[in-house]
């Protein structure tokens, strides 16, 4: 990287790519153990979309960095503190309720966010966003429907969704926490500030939670540190150990 501009763009691209990668990997953990066959297939396909988006973002990040690292190098040979995903996405799946609630909270951000990125001054960002947006809209349709079906379902499913929401809520706000990287990117019209899509997110989340017979937690406290790399949870390292073991043990192995 030659300039501070490139540094900000690199960090920005890692944030996009790592969100997709970490959620994609977590979602793929359901492959073969989904609660019913249709959900198993849906989760695997969602994971596949996210991993595809990861390849687009991280390939671009590697080119901007200019050290010859490609998407695979960035995915498999970085350590936890080099990841820039928000903390919510690295938390363990726990159960289907938490998995779907997290997917919904993320999709509800991702749709307006990617939509805004389609007018980025950086053409490649606009292209990746336009491609990913189609998939994100489809994901949101499913995750929102599932949140409503389970929230407004049985006593058991409602209780599980309530637990999931209460557990995830203190992590959800990190996605909107602007910092100097976001400001630099915003000045160059590559992306708006993440906080600028919070109103849209609030509306979608409030409506869906209300349809799902769930109440939105009151506190706006949010854990932070994932998207800046300052502090990840203890769970990311364990996740990466599984995700990276093959490439770390046999560098460059291919199918």
């Amino acid at each position: 990287m030659t300039t501070t501009d490139d540094y900000a763009l690199f960090e920005f691209l890692l944030r996009q790519g790592d969100n997709a990668l970490v959620l994609g990997h977590r979602t793929s953990e359901w492959c073969g153990v989904g609660p019913v066959l249709e959900e198993d297939i849906a989760l695997a396909n969602t994971a596949l979309d996210l991993i595809g988006q990861t390849q687009l973002w991280l390939a671009f990040a590697g080119e901007v960095e200019g050290k010859g690292r490609d998407a695979n190098d960035l995915a498999y040979f970085r350590d936890p503190y080099d990841f820039r995903n928000v903390l919510m996405l690295e938390l363990p799946n726990e159960d289907f309720a938490r998995t779907m609630m997290r997917q919904f909270l993320f999709d509800a951000f991702q749709v307006p966010w990617l939509d805004a990125l389609t007018t980025s001054s950086e053409q490649r960002v606009a292209d990746i966003a336009a491609k990913s947006l189609k998939e994100a809209k489809y994901h949101l349709e499913r995750s929102a429907e599932t949140v409503v079906a389970l929230g407004d379902g049985t006593e058991e499913s409602n209780a599980r969704m309530r637990n999931a929401l209460e557990f995830l809520w203190p992590y959800a706000g990190e996605i909107f926490s602007d910092d100097e990287i976001d400001e630099s990117i915003n000045r160059k019209r590559i992306a708006p500030l993440p906080s600028s899509v919070r109103d849209v997110w609030n509306r979608v989340v409030d409506q869906t939670l209300s349809d799902a017979m769930l109440s939105r937690p009151e506190s706006d406290f949010s854990h932070k540190g994932g998207r800046t790399g300052f502090r990840h949870t203890e769970h990311l390292g364990h996740m990466l150990a599984t995700m990276q073991v093959l490439q770390r043990s046999h560098p460059g192995a291919t199918w």
């Binding site: 249709e38 959900e39 297939i41 849906a42 695997a44 396909n45 969602t46 994971a47 596949l48 979309d49 996210l50 991993i51 595809g52 988006q53 390849q55 687009l56 053409q123 606009a126 292209d127 990746i128 336009a130 491609k131 990913s132 189609k134 998939e135 489809y138 349709e141 499913r142």
Partner: protein
């Protein structure tokens, strides 16, 4: 000297013989995955686009294109991947849509669901799941003949 020997029209015709690896009844041309063919004196350049960004068939499609063209003496074609503009189901050809239905996959519709059961043609159908056996398909079921079927998702 490749470009002098082959016209882009010829290349397009040959690519019609390359089936989609997961839906072999339609070609990668009918699917709208091949976006552009350029020929010049040096090389043949083919631009392809993924249906879904994580489509695992892309590498196989590239290999199949290279293999098919090699049969006709086209050596070392250059393959480019483009995501702009993003793939849309509108790029499926009329022929591709008809073949999908014959094969048992309901073709995509802007309305967001299949027009009818590809097997018995009943319009009394319901969705089972938004996702199916590949990223580009959803699971539906016919309430008349009771058979499940794939629906090619509309994006």
């Amino acid at each position: 000297m490749i470009g002098e020997r082959f016209s882009s029209k010829q290349i397009w015709n040959w690519l019609e013989n390359v089936p989609d690896p997961e839906i072999p009844v339609i070609s990668v041309v009918d699917l709208g995955v091949v976006r552009d063919v350029k020929t010049d004196k040096e090389t043949v350049e083919i631009t392809i686009t993924p249906t879904y960004s994580g489509c695992p068939a892309m590498r196989v499609i590239e290999m199949d294109i290279v293999t098919e063209l090699a049969k006709h003496g086209v050596e070392n074609p250059r393959l480019k991947t483009s995501i702009n503009p993003p793939w849309t189901t509108e790029w499926l050809s009329g022929k591709g849509r008809a073949r999908l239905e014959e094969y048992g996959i309901a073709p995509p519709r802007a309305a967001g669901g299949p027009e009818r059961c590809p097997l018995c043609k009943s319009t009394d159908v319901e969705r089972v799941s938004q996702f199916g056996s590949t990223p580009c398909k959803a699971q539906w079921r016919c309430k008349t003949c009771l058979e499940p079927f794939d629906y090619f998702k509309c994006i």
